[in-house]
């Protein structure tokens, strides 16, 4: 029985974060693909009864839930490149920004992709505002984590794929090179760094997923 198991979904950026972290630390794990839209497995519901979501990391039989909690656990449990900085102030900053990503950026960007009409315009404005703040933190840095990827870079993974793809498919643009030169540069560096390049999310699968969602949203208009 594998010591480390990850219940996840290849379509989920949150699940993807954990795969990146485990690969960064060189941890071997068994990936269990969950069908999160149609039928969640009894094991997932057993290990995450509170939220019933992916990702769930199972280590030595004990489950850990919530992607940011799992990332900290991985950093504390296994040797290898650090996910969080060592300096207490830098750690606090990393935690602050990754919380900002999850509580502000992601919801606004998600809304911007999937809502319609006035709601979409409002979401696009909000997303632009939050992305501007994020852009500001990249001054003089290759990655949010400095010279190498860290917690905030891993947390911002949805900007690299999960936002760029829907923008292309839907034909709207919030994250343009002109408005966000640093974020666009970050995105290219992130996608090109070895750990991500060697383990890209499945573009075809994501494209199909987003296309299906767009059709569903379009049908609702």
């Amino acid at each position: 029985m594998a010591e480390v198991k990850l219940f996840g979904s290849s379509g989920s950026p949150f699940s993807r974060r954990i795969e990146v972290a485990l690969k960064l630390k060189g941890v071997e794990y068994e990936f269990i693909e969950e069908d999160i839209y149609n039928k969640k497995s009894p094991l997932l519901l057993k290990y995450n009864p509170v939220h019933k979501k992916v990702p769930v990391l199972l280590h030595n039989g004990k489950p850990i839930c919530e992607s940011l909690v799992i990332l900290e656990y991985i950093d504390e449990t296994w040797e290898g490149p650090s996910i969080l900085p060592k300096d207490p102030y830098e750690r606090a900053m990393a935690r602050f920004w990754v919380k900002f990503l999850d509580e502000k950026c992601f919801p606004a960007m998600w809304q911007a992709c999937w809502s319609i009409g006035e709601e979409q315009e409002k979401a696009k404005e909000e997303a632009t505002e939050f992305l501007k703040i994020l852009e500001g933190t990249l001054s003089g840095k290759k990655f949010f984590g400095g010279d190498s990827i860290g917690m905030v870079d891993i947390g911002a993974n949805f900007i690299a794929y999960w936002f760029m793809l829907p923008q292309e498919l839907a034909g709207f643009e919030v994250l343009t090179k002109e408005k966000f030169p640093k974020l666009n540069e970050w995105k290219n560096e992130y996608l090109n760094c070895s750990i991500i390049k060697e383990n890209p999310p499945l573009k075809d699968k994501l494209t199909a997923l987003f296309r299906a969602r767009f059709q569903a949203v379009g049908a609702a208009k």
């Binding site: 509170v50 280590h59 004990k62 850990i64 839930c65 919530e66 940011l68 909690v69 799992i70 900290e72 656990y73 504390e76 449990t77 207490p88 102030y89 750690r91 606090a92 935690r95 602050f96 919380k99 900002f100 703040i133």
Partner: protein, 229 residues
């Protein structure tokens, strides 16, 4: 006049500010408490927390740290004196962080919705959801405490501080709407824990008395967004 190396911007009715006060006191850190009204934000607050514009903000040697639980972890990381706030075992730490996030994102917001609720039906539904959450928290308490008095074991820790600082407002809500949330029959472990936590000096010195919070509760019935976090 010398500027204190540790300053805390906030006000005492905020449970988020209370968390930081308790953590600083646990580590015997001297600090300057700077009163900030979250409903009438000063230039100073907007300068040190331009993104969220909320209290508490801890300023240590001129550097601001925001978000109460992030500040508590910072205090644990930055100062070695005093007892550790987070558990030492990584899995226990993960559990503590998980439940603190649940409390902040899912459970306590129900109290705000309850305060703002305008119909009896809405109030009833929210009260039911709060009780469902308490059942989950009871299980969490049994798991984390491992038979000891606090989530942190023999002494209070991160999760005690995270949940405990809401107890002032839980009691104020109990008084204001006549519902007993921490029931020794429904959630015995949690009820006993709450009694113990609220009788500690760490709590009493920092959280305003229930009656004061009841008066504030009445003022905010019907209002919306929190200004601290």
């Amino acid at each position: 006049m010398a500027i204190a190396s540790v300053q805390l911007l906030g006000e005492s009715p905020s449970p988020y500010v209370n968390r930081v006060q308790i953590a600083l006191n646990l580590k015997s850190i001297e600090f300057e408490f700077i009163q900030e009204n979250p409903y009438d934000k000063s230039e100073r607050l907007l300068k040190v927390n331009p993104v969220q514009k909320k209290i508490p903000v801890l300023i240590h040697d001129g550097k601001p740290i925001c978000e109460s639980l992030i500040i508590v972890e910072y205090i644990d990381d930055a100062w070695n004196n005093g007892p550790p706030i987070l558990p030492s075992d990584p899995h226990d730490r993960a559990l503590a962080r998980f439940w603190a996030a649940y409390i902040d994102n899912k459970w306590f917001p129900l109290y705000r919705e309850l305060r703002a609720a305008s119909t009896e039906e809405a109030r009833k539904e929210l009260i039911e959801r709060i009780f469902e959450g308490l059942v989950l928290l009871e299980e969490a308490f049994v798991k984390c405490s491992k038979g000891k008095p606090f989530f942190g074991g023999d002494n209070i820790g991160y999760l005690d501080i995270a949940l405990g600082c809401y107890m002032g407002w839980v009691k104020a809500t109990e008084v204001s709407i006549g519902v007993k949330f921490l029931d020794e029959f429904k959630t015995p472990g949690l009820a006993e824990w709450a009694d113990k936590f609220c009788s500690l000096n760490d709590f009493k010195e920092v959280v305003p008395e229930t009656q004061k919070l009841v008066e504030i509760y009445k003022m905010f019935q019907g209002r919306g967004k929190p200004a601290s976090g």
